[in-house]
Amino acid sequence: MSYASLVEYFAKIEDLPIPVNTVLERICATTDHKDLRLYPVERHNKAFRGAFRRLAYPTGKAYSHEYEIVCQILYGKDLPEEWKRLVIVKEALHVFDPEGNKVDTPEKVRKLIPQVITPDLRGAPFLPAIDDYLGVFRAMAVLLPRHARTKMKAAVDAGTRTPTEIADYVKLPDYYVDIWLDQGAEAEPQLLKGR
């Protein structure tokens, strides 16, 4: 399964919130990524909310170059529930990262980190960092899916619901719900391209 087909699978779901575990189970059931591990971690200066680390372990079989893939999803154990939901799904969706967007060398780590921290430090475009930035909106496309989003956007436009009420309902951060209701229809097709 690709990212685009995952989005299509959830697009028609109108019973919300979508449980995070349902998304994780869907990824494990339909991709080669069978080992997704969630780690709640302690944070001290709130430098990041979450992280994704994909590791390849040699199987140890003689004359074999086979590896077992493990994907670790770290998230702040102190985060509010709505942030945990968004962070975990955003990080889990990195299993779909194309080869060219993977950060797998020390040099790429040195380039990625300054661009994660603050837009002020964004220098020459670095594709994996751009992909990391867009990842949160890829998660919104799954957790606030198309059909329901369309109905809720209409309710906001009609003044019968506020983005904050919708954020409470879908258990996602206000900030991203507001953006996704406003921009999702236009942004989603761009996020699905090539995925």
């Binding site: 944070r43 020390p106 258990k171």
Partner: protein, 74 residues
């Protein structure tokens, strides 16, 4: 920068698993690169040392309600 190199040493050990991808979700406030690297290093140490235990899934109080029902209740 010492913190960055410590993080890189942890992520690319001479023996053991190979790093295939790494990504982050930005934090609540801007920090210096060295503070970010120190926090990331501390988090991965929690995982690698076994101090942070993997959980089976997110324990969330989640009772889905149909969007039409939610919108009608306004």
């Amino acid at each position: 920068m010492r913190e960055m190199e410590q993080l890189i040493d942890l992520l690319f050990p001479k023996e053991g698993p190979r790093l295939e991808d790494l990504k982050f979700f930005e934090g609540e406030r801007p920090v210096k690169i060295e503070d970010f690297c120190a926090e990331a290093h501390a988090a991965f140490v929690q995982v690698d040392s076994g101090r942070a235990k993997p959980v089976a899934g997110l324990d969330e109080a989640c009772t889905p309600v149909h969007v039409d029902k939610f919108l009608k209740s306004s």
